[in-house]
């Protein structure tokens, strides 16, 4: 049995190591000693964990750091630093390391062309969000209220995620193009062809298709948490189905709705693949402009500046929308 007992010693030593350079605290040594006499390998692992637990329990700050540290570290490395780098670059002229300037921002904000693209992007994002929210809510509602096979249906909702985004977009090209699946079917039943590809409608269809699962899941979650008794109570008190929906179901699930809306609105605003593939060249969205600056025009600072402006705009819009949503559906809006 020499090995387990050695691992015990190692455990005790490790738990000290993992702390700080501070002196070994009495209790830790004690438990380490006990374990060494115990000898068993299982109690060795247990002892190591319990030693560490005890050690951390007595140091609440260190414990907080141990729990919160890794996620915050990830956020710093993968979110804060890149964002900061973008911010820095956006104030440089022509290329990374160029002279400091505000020109990237003034150029963008004074250009009618770019602002028109932003406005278009905003309109499309709002439309997509509205369509996805309406369809997604109806879908989630029907899954929760009228179905017993909720797991299967949810699986079907998520199923498209198993295929690559790009491949699914090409599938839609196939369906929507002028002699594609949709037009062929329409021809068969004697209706005129639509040739939807490379139109705004195609972009809306593509986005709706892609984001629907993202919205359905939070909608579903908030709807399953909704207490069915509240619906019955509302009906019992004389409210018909529509009024019950508006005054109980919707306000009670507003958090899920906001989550879904945010999940759809943000990626739509910055998206460039869907509009590029389905919208063609006449339907430019701001994400495509940014992508272009980085990949074709090689004007990274200008792309970064647009990115910063868009981020600020989106965050502002979301704050506004959340505030508005809370006001409309929260307790404040009911009494009128």
């Amino acid at each position: 049995m020499p090995e387990p007992s050695r691992s015990d010693d190692g455990g005790a030593a490790e738990s000290v190591d993992e702390g700080t350079a501070e002196s070994v605290d009495g209790r830790t040594t004690e438990s380490g000693g006990e374990l060494a006499t115990d000898g068993g390998s299982v109690s060795g692992v247990d002892g190591r964990v319990s030693g560490l637990t005890t050690y951390l329990r007595e140091r609440p700050r260190l414990r907080t750091l141990a729990i919160a540290g890794p996620p915050y570290g990830l956020l710093v490395v993968f979110f804060a630093i890149p964002l900061l780098a973008m911010l820095v670059v956006s104030f440089q002229a022509d290329q990374i390391g160029g002279a400091w300037t505000l020109r990237n921002y003034t150029d963008f904000l004074t250009s009618d062309t770019y602002l028109t693209v932003v406005w278009r992007t905003f309109l499309i994002s709002v439309q997509v969000t509205a369509i996805v929210a309406a369809v997604g809510y109806a879908l989630a509602y029907s899954i929760v209220r009228f179905s017993r096979r909720t797991t299967l249906l949810l699986l079907l909702v998520i199923l498209p995620f198993w295929t690559s985004y790009i491949i699914r977009m090409y599938a839609w090209i196939n369906i929507l193009q002028s002699d594609g699946v949709l037009d062929s079917v329409l021809n068969l039943v004697g209706l005129p062809a639509l040739s939807l590809l490379y139109t705004d409608t195609a972009v809306l269809i593509g986005f709706t298709y892609v984001w629907l699962p993202l919205a359905v899941l939070p909608f579903y979650a908030s709807l399953t948490n909704l207490d069915g008794d509240l619906i019955e109570a509302s009906k019992d008190l004389g409210a018909g189905p529509i009024r019950t929906f508006l005054s109980v179901t919707l306000p009670m699930t507003v958090n899920g709705v906001v989550t879904g809306v945010v999940l759809v609105f943000i990626p739509t605003f910055g998206s460039f693949i869907t509009p590029r593939l389905l919208g063609g060249t006449n339907n430019v969205m701001i994400g495509m402009v940014i992508e272009n600056q980085f990949k074709s025009a090689f004007n990274w600072p200008f792309g970064a500046a647009i990115g910063m402006v868009i981020s600020v705009v989106v965050v502002a819009l979301l704050l506004l929308a959340t505030r508005l949503g809370g006001g409309l559906f929260g307790t404040g809006g009911e009494e009128s």
Binding site: D229, S234, K235, D236, G238, A239, G330, T331, E334
Partner: protein, 385 residues
């Protein structure tokens, strides 16, 4: 004309018959409870009256108007839910005013009536709070006010008090009675708790296995239970096995071991007992009607009982040993292992015994109820007359 008339009400869930041919009436201004163990179908009956379930068969008429098929929001009935179902996103006042708002009552009147209701349930000044800030008892009052403010013909209760502790529950019971009288509203209360049902109701509907066991006033059910189930469910009961040896219009003679005892048929009990000679029966007696005396004074007890005509055919009496005692305030409940009938319980007020004391146990034949044991129907009924 009764306010609520239920006839032949049946509800099947697949193969399960949850409610089987249930019929009862509720008069205007009554407080009626549907009492039954869990799974007896009582909540289903309530939900059918409220409109949340469609009956498989049967009629429900409110104020002589058939309401089966009409949606809950069109019925002049309001419900207090088991978990209250207060709207968490609305204030107390908005919760109470919800029904009025739906029926288009103007804001001024709504405020006034809500205020009056808050007073009625003694929650003045709580209107602006959120339901989550209130205690369990206060939430009960809000739920009650929310149902009553609409002045429905009938208020339904789905065991709303079951989540409260005993003290608060008793307090809410008396509040319910006060409010019912003050508002002159008809209450239909569903519960599995016989204590609550006995305390608050004018009449009880006892339900088991989807079928009505008995309908009657609290006194009728307690004093003349129609079956052993009812006797057992409403108050405790001792059951002694026996066999019928003779039956006529005046009495039922039962053999419970060595002796035959003649049980008189009286208005209070056994008048309608459907038994025949040779039937296996349960002879039931309430613990408080059981007399217990120390075995040493058995002789005195016998002479007391000499005035009892039942003694002529032998009394219900045996000896036994006290096995357990639980103090209940004004009296004590004893568990006694008897020599003839096994374990019995007796509620004794005056005397006091210790565990292992030898005692005599006796009760009057006039106090017992005789029920035919389930599944023991005797084919030869000619001995009955």
């Amino acid at each position: 004309m009764s306010l609520l008339r239920v006839r032949g009400l049946t509800k099947e869930f697949g193969d399960l018959v949850a409610v089987d041919d249930v019929g009862f009436d509720i008069e205007d201004g009554e407080f009626v409870s549907i009492l039954g163990p869990s799974g007896s179908g009582k909540s289903t009956v309530l939900r059918m009256v409220a409109g949340f379930e469609e009956p498989t068969d049967g009629e429900i008429a409110l104020d002589d108007v058939e309401i089966v098929g009409s949606p809950p929001f069109e019925r002049d009935v309001n419900m207090v839910f088991q978990d209250l179902a207060l709207f968490p996103h609305l204030t107390v006042a908005e919760n109470i005013g919800y029904g009025l708002k739906q029926s288009g009552v103007p804001a001024d009147e709504r405020r006034e009536r809500t205020e009056r209701m808050l007073e009625m349930v003694r929650l003045e000044g709580y209107g602006d709070r959120s339901p989550a800030e209130l205690s369990g008892g206060e939430q009960q009052r809000v739920a009650l006010a929310r149902a009553l403010v609409n002045e429905p013909a009938l208020v339904l209760f789905d065991e709303p008090l079951s989540s409260l502790d005993r003290k608060l529950r008793q307090h809410m019971q008396s509040e319910l009675q006060r409010i019912q009288i003050e508002t002159d509203t008809t209450f239909l209360y569903v519960t599995h708790d016989q204590e609550v049902a006995l305390a608050v109701s004018d009449r009880l509907v006892v339900l088991d296995d989807g079928e009505i066991q008995q309908v009657g006033t609290v006194e009728e059910l307690y004093e003349a239970p129609a079956s052993r189930f009812v006797a057992d469910f409403i108050g405790d009961v001792n059951a002694v096995e026996g066999r019928v040896t003779a039956v006529d219009d005046a009495e039922i003679v039962v053999d419970t071991g060595d002796d035959e005892v003649a049980v008189p048929r009286t208005a209070a009990g056994n008048a309608a007992a459907d038994v025949a000679v040779d039937d296996a029966v349960d002879v039931c007696v309430r613990p408080f009607q059981v007399r217990v005396e120390s075995a040493g004074s058995a002789g005195a007890s016998d002479s007391d009982d000499a005035s009892n005509p039942a003694d002529a055919d032998g009394a219900f009496a045996t000896t036994g040993v006290v096995r357990s005692r639980s103090y209940q305030g004004s009296d004590s409940l004893y568990g006694i292992e008897t020599d003839r009938w096994g374990r019995l319980s007796a509620e004794v007020r005056s005397a006091s015994f210790d565990v292992d004391d030898r005692v005599t146990v006796a009760w009057d034949a006039a106090d017992v109820h005789v029920y035919r044991r389930d599944g023991s129907e005797s084919p030869d009924t000619d001995g009955g007359t």
